[in-house]
């Protein structure tokens, strides 16, 4: 599949995402945030980093980049979009996912390995996992505490749209231990941990590789 990794000014996990897609056998390309089309991509990845220096709020300004209209159209057509860390923040700011990522409860920037559990396997990015699988992956963020009002949280739970949940160690105080969610159409997924940094056992974990498997039919 053709995977487009969007680069914003301040993205810094773009190369990791690109390599993760390539390692999974896909044709990966970079798309600059000023671009107004996704060059025929099947799958879009919004990578981690600090787009626009996190000014105002993380993701608040990147959501107005020209490319985001194409990303919204791609998502609206039911095609896969993955937002990792800053990419998740951008998807929430853009309204493509509900809720928001607020300042970590402990105030400090967290940079460590965490364990998350796969809660839903009917998304393009979790189809290669089994429900309950545990993934070891790093987090690295200052604003990763998922928040939403109670009605939204209840709805996410009811519709099984919590895709990943922290196990044991919730690094940021996210409500209901939420590490990642999906949209109503289940084609847009955002998560705070970095599966693209958990691609090789040599680097600590290969648990993230299946996120990029993107098996046919998704």
């Amino acid at each position: 599949m053709k995977v487009a990794v969007v680069r914003f000014p301040g993205s810094n996990c773009d190369a990791d995402a690109w390599h993760a897609a390539r390692d999974a056998g896909h044709d990966a390309t970079y798309v600059w945030h000023r671009s107004t089309d996704l060059e025929g991509a099947d799958v879009v990845v919004l990578p981690g980093g600090f787009s626009y220096g996190d000014y105002l709020r993380a993701g608040a300004i990147a959501r107005f980049s020209p490319v985001m209209q194409a990303v919204a159209a791609h998502a609206g057509a039911g095609r896969p979009v993955l937002g990792i860390c800053n990419g998740f923040q951008i998807l929430c700011e853009a309204g493509l996912l509900p809720g928001a990522l607020a300042r970590n409860a402990g105030l400090s920037f967290v940079c460590r390995w965490v364990t998350i559990r796969v809660e839903a396997t009917d998304t393009p990015f979790t189809a290669s996992y089994r429900a309950g699988d545990r993934i070891r992956a790093p987090v690295a963020h200052g604003e990763g505490r998922f928040v939403a009002d109670e009605a939204t949280l209840d709805r996410l739970e009811r519709e099984r749209r919590v895709v990943f949940r922290y196990v044991g160690d919730n690094p940021n105080g996210a409500l209901r231990d939420i590490a990642g969610i999906t949209n109503e159409g289940r084609n847009v997924v955002g998560l705070m941990p970095h599966p693209e940094r958990a691609m090789h056992a040599l680097l600590g974990s290969a648990d993230g590789a299946a996120v990029f498997a993107l098996t046919a039919g998704t």
């Binding site: 105002l56 107005f64 929430c92 105080g173």
Partner: protein, 85 residues
């Protein structure tokens, strides 16, 4: 007409404000007793061309809704909308 607009953005009540908590603890450790409910937000000032004060106010409100504040986590208030000197 040119207006000066002052916008105050605060964490929504009920949303954990770790910055406010940290400042509250620091004030307590400095010996300032009886301090509570500290919330840390931000203030934005801008100059704006508009026909009337009501128009300036409306434009600022739309800026807050679309960009300056996140409706999930933050509240905003227009602290001042005054003709620029």
């Amino acid at each position: 007409m040119r207006f000066r607009v002052r916008i105050r953005i605060t964490p929504r009540v009920g949303i954990l404000d770790p910055q406010g908590q940290a400042v509250e603890h620091a004030l307590a450790s400095l010996g300032f007793g009886g301090v509570g409910a500290v919330r840390v937000g931000r203030s934005i000032e801008l100059a704006l061309e508009a026909g009337t004060e009501a128009e300036a106010r409306e434009a600022a409100r739309r800026m807050c809704e679309r960009l300056l504040a996140n409706p999930v986590t933050e509240d905003f208030a227009l602290d001042g909308v005054e003709p620029a000197a």
